[in-house]
Amino acid sequence: MTLAAASHGFLSPTGVEIAFLLVGLVTLGAAVVTVTTKQLVHAALWLVVALGGIAVEYLLLTAEFIAWVQVLIYVGSVVVLLLFGLMLTKAPIGRSENADSGNRWAALIVAVASAAALVWVVTDAFRTTWIDLDGAVQGSTEASGRSLFQYWVLPFEALSVLLLAALVGAIVLSRKNDDRERSDGSERPGSGKQSGPREQSGSREQPGSRERPGDRARLREDQG
């Protein structure tokens, strides 16, 4: 990265800068729709667009490794977890008007405040920093790994300890519930016995009954 604000004017943007701005606008729009839409699952899917947009921004900043990690963790796992949770609740198709918590204004104030703080900090820190796109790639896996394990080891380790604490906490919480269930009664062994024979019959049927493309198509033809 170079300190060369003088040679980069804001009035003659390059193609990459224009693309960066446009993708940023799309990301912002998707994020706004995520928090304003009345359809719960649509909100989760718009979140995919917003997170994907951020990944594209990373790519445009040459941080390829961070971009794919963003897709892997956020789109591939966090959103899937969100959708899983939504499907476990009712998650009706169409608008859910009563899914409003009444904290709308408080949430708006917090969101605007944190956005303002982030924008202020980031612009203040990187105001005159430009990435030289023609030179060596600065966001490659090697470069990210080096800076992470040379200059940012302490925050990295602190974060990992935090995650470990969260993991241990989750295990403790789930084990507490487990004990209570066990002392309540014989819920677990009963359900185990029920599912035994069902599974056996299912597995015996399996090889013959799984002629997928053909069978299903034939069934449909018979109906139609």
Binding site: L45, W68, V69, I93, Q206, R212
Partner: protein, 321 residues
Amino acid sequence: MSDALDIALRLIAVFVAFLVFPLVIGQTEHKVMAHMQGRLGPMYAGGFHGWAQLVADGVKFAQKEDVVPAGADRRIFQLAPAVALLPYLLVLVAIPLGPGNVVGQSLDAGIFFVLAVMGVGVLGSLMAGWASANKFSLLGGLRTAAQLLAYELPMLLAAASVAMAAGTLSLPGILDAFHWWWVPWQIVGGLVFFTAGLAELQRPPFDMPVADSEIIFGAYTEYTGLRFALFLLAEYAGILVLCALTSVLFLGGWHGPFGADGLGWLWMLLKTAVLAFGVIWLRVSYPRLREDQLQKLAWTVLIPLALAQIALTGVVKVVIS
């Protein structure tokens, strides 16, 4: 100009592979399954042993009415098959076929790209399951999500072990660093990766999300015509991608006992084909795992095995360097 032409040719080649190989795997599945079950399978379409059966199936699917249920979320219902299929096309771009430059596009963080984009494909099943307004579809979607969450982790850990061994995340780079003794060294990771990949594709014995004898066809129950065919195509493209990835990461891709320079692509195709045959074989021979057995296998067997593999990789790496 020649740069643009080069890129265009590579993309066309990847696209052709994407159209041809899944159909070859599908046709092989028809015939192999049939013979393992003492049948002949398709024999008429195209003349010779029914080779054109899947082409005929495609024509049939294209002619069928594309029904969207009245209660469904129309746009998401229609978008889901594309979300399920396109990631596999993108992934194929990064998989090397031969030594040197025989790859769609060499990526610096190839493993992460491949695993990240494959994970996105599962969103298609989730969208389909929710948007169909059908309780069987919703159950299928739920099971898909639970399965993905459980099996993504061992898959990543197993891939990380290979990346540690090679010292790079780029797929061609991993193949350049490959030696034959990596196969026994990484064999546990390879088994974990392949098993977790099968579960992510919802192939038997991990096909609880589409278990036809209990929830009809899971997330795809309401689909007809071309959109249903796209989901099936996504499954076969997924088999292709998984087998190709496993052979690149754990079996040395284009490396072979002889002829590595000219015949590298043939070794790669051979390894992929053998693995795909294994996938088909598993479908015919193994009973379906129950949902709790699925979760138990992932969390109590595969993840510890993958972690042990990473430890082994680290120790050996330190010893030999």
